[in-house]
Symmetry: C2
Subunit: 379 residues, 2 copies
């Protein structure tokens, strides 16, 4: 070993990169993209604004935003080979499909083997447009419908819901989904973004780095948690009384079963993203005349906070928000990717612009060196 340091489990609080993209203060509960507070962005910026901000370090003016919207619209239609592949793969899991199809996109991308800054800027836009088309079309096929062509007149959030359902969404649904996209767009060195940077630091191509991120996001300790939250709510049962809900949660806590959607490596306060998703869950529930998922979530939040001192994180209220929007559970984690692709690509661009291979060491805890090697006949 060249170092006598011990492993810091999970690299907790270890600084692994310098970055201008995300300002994250877990003690004060602050999340900001290039210094722009997430609460201000939710109020005054769209997901497309946030993409531009993450990639270029500042919000776009009207002309720049219009250009980006045109580029995204132009990149949205999926090619025939990609649609064929989607139909042909056994659709076991939305994240598996997204991983394989995003990898396949790399075979058809005109800039696939061009790692120049210009090509990578184009790929960031294209991947952002195409991941949304992949997930919406996958959801549409899973529901038994045929693929819907994107509508270039719609923004990113509205077009996603349109391609998923075949219906142009109303203002509240569009707004709720756009807010969810803004909230999930970046979160500093979360595991999937870190995986993307580890990959990009070998100077591999952007599709490879994004595929690494998708595979990482799939995990139940990361993006998979929002789907687990909804499965828990459904298991407890929509018509459960408050007592029944409390009993169900207490039984899990007694058995040391982790309640998904609570706690965060970085935040010691409320997750600032949960604040908005809680409100969205409530507003959407009131609109459709069913606030039971919201009420159940609130009850669980109060109980877990009281018993375990854990705050709800971004995954907890995104579950009931998406479900009330009529989105099937298998799409929850893929939708996380539809938003986080903005941050993943921004981190790739930043890594490429000032690169060094990311190659840490282990603390060796195996058998003493050297062990004897006998030929197989003598073992």
């Amino acid at each position: 070993m060249t170092t006598d340091a011990k492993a810091k489990a999970g690299l907790e609080d270890v600084v692994a990169a310098s970055s201008a993209i995300c300002y994250l203060d877990g003690d004060r509960g602050i999340l900001a993209y290039h210094g722009h507070d997430i609460h201000d962005l939710v109020r005054a910026a769209s997901f497309e604004d946030v993409c531009y901000l993450l990639w270029h370090g500042r919000l776009p003016n009207r002309g720049e935003l219009g250009d980006l919207q045109s580029q995204l619209a132009a990149a949205r239609p999926l090619g025939e080979p990609i649609l064929r592949l989607m139909k042909q793969l056994p659709a076991s899991d939305g994240m598996d499909t997204l991983r394989t199809l995003t990898s396949a996109l790399g075979h058809y991308d005109p800039d696939a083997s061009d790692n120049s800054p210009q090509a990578n800027d184009r790929k960031a836009v294209r991947l952002t447009a195409q991941l949304a088309s992949l997930v919406a079309t996958y959801g549409r096929l899973q529901a038994g419908g045929g693929p819907i062509q994107p509508d270039p007149a719609l923004g990113h959030a509205a077009n996603f819901l349109y391609m998923l359902t075949g219906n142009r969404p109303d203002a509240l649904s569009t707004r709720a989904f756009d807010v969810a996209l803004v909230l999930h767009a970046d979160h500093e060195l979360n595991a999937s973004t870190f995986a993307a940077r580890v990959a990009a630091a070998t100077l591999t191509d952007m599709h490879s780095a994004i595929v690494a991120a998708i595979g990482t996001l799939k995990g139940p300790l990361h993006g998979g948690a929002n789907a687990d939250v909804m499965r828990l709510l459904i298991e407890i049962g929509e018509d459960s009384t408050p007592d029944r809900i409390d009993d169900a949660i207490r039984a899990r806590l007694a058995k040391k079963i982790k309640i998904p959607g609570f706690g965060h490596r970085v935040y010691r306060t409320e997750d600032p993203r949960a604040t908005h998703l809680r409100r969205m869950s409530k507003e959407l529930g009131e609109r459709v005349g069913n606030t039971r998922w919201y009420a159940m979530s609130q009850r669980i939040e109060t109980l877990v906070k009281g018993e375990k001192k854990l705050n709800a994180n971004v995954d907890f209220y995104s579950a009931s928000t998406y479900y009330t929007l009529g989105i099937p559970i298998d799409l929850f984690t893929p939708i996380f990717a539809v938003s986080r692709i903005a941050g993943w690509t921004a981190h790739c661009l930043e890594q490429y612009s000032n690169n060094r291979l990311i190659r840490p060491r282990t603390d060796y805890i195996g058998p003493p060196y050297p062990q004897m090697v006998l030929p197989v006949e003598q073992r």
Copy 2:
């Protein structure tokens, strides 16, 4: 920030995990798998022995080795949907194809969604068998042939060469390829293995973690270097005089162009793997009656060592070794994966067995917080 530490560029010498798998002493030039020195393993162990060692922490006895060989043989045939997909994808790059097809394997794996230790042991064997079949079959199709069914009577190295070429290889070729597989099987927290562990630490499935590793290995600062070495040798030209070789290298050094295959983040000595690949390159060259690639490599090694004090690494002599074996350049990096899958899966198993989410922090260097967020009309 919860920490005032500065980023250590590329996590150099930072300990990111405890591990019993690989003992790596860069100052003394020691590489050992579970304490077994790589030089001893090259002498007395096959790739299948090394797989067992990496997964189980000790070398197999005759019965255990036989069982593993049977399991690998049983897992080698590729399913019809995978072969169809391979034929249908535009074959732009071997690593792109390997990434997409390994991801597709996850859709068909009977244990895909089972993250139990037993299922993961089975997936490690299956992925090791199937990556070899994917790469050999891809190479065969690229050369215009039809897929060759694996021969269960052959070991892993011999069967790979058979599926690639359609001819049962002789003893020297089999031995050279087996040694190359043993040498590349693991190397502690190299970038692709680290990417696999970052992914696995979210408790994502093994296919997702391996796909992350493949995308990472593709980079020219990692697995892509062996192909770059051969492209350089060919560019200089097989018939070049020693002076012409020196001129070509000096011209690159003068322009600060990196010579691929030299230097290593960890080793301060000769890379112990280079020792064996140098010998293999020579022996294979002598056998086919063409030692010019070997001689050119040696000349370049002497020059770069003299001028830049850099040692040849694992990639430098693997280039001429593979080329002399008749393997096309586009397969060099995929073949790295055919070996490293043993280490990747071993590290996944170790990560799953004692897991903590890998989630470091950044050192924020962006604009001061908070930046003003104006609506687009006012920007």
